[in-house]
């Protein structure tokens, strides 16, 4: 056994860890070289992408303020020069007036399109409105309007007589811009009670059923429809039509529509005409096998 005096240092043997493990490309197999090459390429690509992302992020961050101010300045430099409108009945002047666009100095970018859309759609005649900016200086306004199927003769607060229009959804509105001839040709709606709501009127229920009758009459028997003056919902769900040929014609809603009842009415009118009876008092079309007809001379 070797006994040694205590010393501060002792010689250290060479360990396997002293063997140099540096890899030289020449000493690598082709597989390993490819492996190392692709690994380094992958790392390089990741590093480049990361650096690029950081650089772009930093640039965007630094330029945010500049971009914001540039947009504001650009906005100031984009005055509204043109308004393009698209509508059925309402004319361009009404739209400009309603939206208060007849002023100078309006800025296209500062217009509140949401508020303008809401303002348009608050008017009952307008079903929906779309507004869009068309850079650099144009505002595009597209309006889809309601189609009236009947009119209502009512009195306003001053007891003046006014004509209101009703569409198939039962929405009641004061029609603007309609051709008076077209309005006159619409049948008047009767037997209903108008209720005011938020400056307008509550929708009339059942108008979808009335619309079916009027549409079928207009397409299947236009000569009859032209003579219809009043459509009454007083006997609802039956619909009473007052026309030149019959003082009252009573229709009953059926799943198949009103085709059969219109045909029966047409036949009765033709039959009476052939016997020189131009107007009857009442035709009840609600019975399936018979159609009671009351002649005017019998009515007291």
């Amino acid at each position: 056994m070797a006994t040694k005096k205590p010393t501060k240092t002792a010689r250290k043997s060479k360990s396997w860890k002293d063997i140099d493990q540096d890899v030289r490309a020449k000493s690598m197999s082709s597989t390993a070289f490819k492996r190392m090459f692709f690994a380094r390429c992958r790392k390089s690509v990741i590093a480049i992408v990361a650096i690029a992302a950081i650089a772009v992020g930093a640039k965007l961050f630094l330029e945010t303020e500049d971009v914001s101010s540039a947009l504001t300045q650009a906005g100031r430099a984009l005055p509204l020069k043109m308004v393009e409108t698209e509508s059925d009945v309402l004319d361009r002047e009404w739209i400009l007036h309603h939206l208060d666009l007849n002023r100078d100095g309006l800025n296209l970018l500062t217009l509140d399109l949401g508020e303008m859309k809401q303002s348009l759609e608050s008017y009952s005649q307008i079903r929906s409105a779309e507004l869009a900016r068309q850079l650099p200086d144009t505002l595009f306004v597209s309006i889809q309007e309601r189609e009236p199927i009947a009119k209502i003769i009512a009195s306003d607060v001053d007891r003046a007589r006014i004509t209101l229009l009703v569409d198939q959804e039962g929405v009641v509105y004061e029609g603007i811009g309609y051709d008076s001839k077209m309005v006159r040709s619409l049948p008047s709606l009767d037997g209903i009670r108008l209720k005011r709501k938020d400056g307008g009127f509550e929708p009339i229920s059942g108008m979808d059923v009335v619309e079916v009758l009027l549409t079928e009459a207009r397409t299947l028997a236009p000569h009859l429809y032209r003579s219809w003056k009043v459509v009454s919902m007083e006997a609802w769900p039956n619909i009473v039509v007052k026309s030149d040929f019959a003082k009252e014609a009573v229709f009953e809603p059926t799943p198949g529509g009103y085709r059969r009842q219109l045909a029966e009415l047409d036949y009765i009118i033709d039959y009476n005409k052939s016997r020189s009876v131009n107007r009857v008092a009442r035709v009840d079309l609600t019975l399936k096998s018979q159609v009671p007809v009351t002649r005017a001379s019998f009515v007291q």
């Binding site: 070797a2 010393t7 063997i19 493990q21 197999s29 690994a39």
Partner: protein, 384 residues
């Protein structure tokens, strides 16, 4: 062979890939053709990586071969008189002195296997703060040829991988096949490879002696080839089909067919001759180990018996041959504590042992370097 393991949450180990390749460019455990050995090792690494779907970060390399040797190195110091108790400084000093034995220039240390300290001639495991006058430290230093170990490392480096640790094959295998109780009672782990045999002797729970010598399964095939006049591949086949480490068939008239294909050239071989040749070589291998162990190889110091592993351990009656030489029970190692299925076979003990070493090494690193999360997520094992 390459085994690829991954440390999962909780510090347990999952084996996620395995790659094998034919052994070329290696003779008796030494690299004789760098390119051929590189191709084989790289193919095995690639195969393991492909199977696991991950890239290897680092490698634990097992070494063996004719050039790995060991020697005892001892030193003693007087305990600092002022205190009369062993200080940490005393322990460090005596350890450094014991490890400081000069080696020839071409040799490098692989392991310093520490044996129990001796304090005033009594064996102590941890001498710190114990009273005494003279402290002795003893190490078994395992060393190898720097150039040959460098060659093995450079093959791994050639795949652009770093070798994290180098471990003697038998030590790696012993960590898997020997139980703690066997190590405590004293046991011997023998790893019989193709070109060399490694051994590791355990006492008191720690490895106290280990080494390697150039005798292995290839020598048995070579003996059969020369002794029975046949080609080497025929001898190899015969060894696998009829080989036994002891003579089982006493009837000298019993014969087996050389090729067993009934073609021209096939001839009968005496079974007794085959078994006798193998028995002699196996006995020689065990006797070499016994001689190298000296007093450690006596039966009374091997209470835990002999544990055999490696490809050579698959030879029939290998245990009986070892029992005959060492005079203690012998068994073939089982990797059941770490693996299931095919990996339980003793030929995988070394690779599994490397993974276990790696796991313990990683655990230590994670304890001391807790600020490096994820850096050592994986560990890998490789042996030739």
């Amino acid at each position: 062979m390459v085994l690829l393991g991954e440390i999962v949450e909780g510090g347990s180990l999952n084996i996620i890939g395995m790659g094998q390749s034919s052994s070329k460019g290696v003779l008796k455990g030494d690299i004789v053709d760098f390119h051929a050995a590189s191709d084989c090792a790289h193919a095995a690494i690639l195969s393991a990586e492909d199977q696991a779907g991950v890239k290897i970060d680092g490698v634990y390399l097992a070494v063996s071969g004719s050039d790995v040797n060991g020697f005892p190195s001892e030193a003693s110091v007087n305990v600092t008189p002022a205190e009369g108790r062993v200080s940490q400084e005393d322990i460090d000093q005596v350890s450094d002195l014991a490890k400081g034995r000069d080696l020839p220039e071409e040799r490098v240390v692989i392991h310093h296997l520490r044996r129990p300290y001796r304090l005033d001639s009594r064996s102590v495991e941890k001498p710190l703060n114990l009273e005494g006058e003279r402290l002795e430290a003893s190490y078994w230093t395992v060393h190898g040829n720097a150039r040959k170990i460098g060659d093995a490392i450079h093959i791994i480096n050639g795949f652009n991988l770093h070798v994290d640790d180098v471990i003697l094959s038998a030590l790696a295998a012993g960590s898997v096949v020997a139980s703690e109780e066997e190590k405590q009672r004293g046991c011997l782990v023998i790893d019989i490879g193709r070109g060399s045999t490694d051994y590791a002797a355990y006492q008191g729970g720690r490895c106290v002696l280990a080494g390697s010598f150039p005798l292995g399964g290839d020598h048995i095939s070579n003996d059969l080839s020369i002794g029975l006049r046949m080609r080497l591949n025929q001898a190899e086949s015969l060894k696998h089909r009829y080989g036994s480490a002891i003579v089982e068939h006493k009837d000298k008239g019993e014969k087996v067919w050389l090729n067993n294909d009934f073609e021209i050239g096939d001839r009968p071989i005496r079974l007794w001759s085959i078994e006798k040749i193998i028995e002699l070589r196996m006995t020689e291998i065990f006797e070499v180990i016994s001689k190298k162990l000296g007093s450690l190889g006596r039966g009374e110091r091997l209470g835990g018996g002999v544990i055999l592993c490696g490809g050579g351990a698959s030879l029939r009656n290998c245990e009986q041959s070892a029992e005959g030489v060492f005079g203690v029970p012998a068994r073939v190692g089982d990797n059941g504590t770490m693996a299931t299925g095919e990996l339980r076979e003793s030929q995988y003990s070394v690779a599994l042992g490397l993974l276990k070493y790696g796991l313990e090494y990683q655990s230590k690193l994670e304890t001391t370097e807790s600020n490096a999360p994820g850096l050592f997520g994986k560990l890998k094992g490789l042996f030739q």
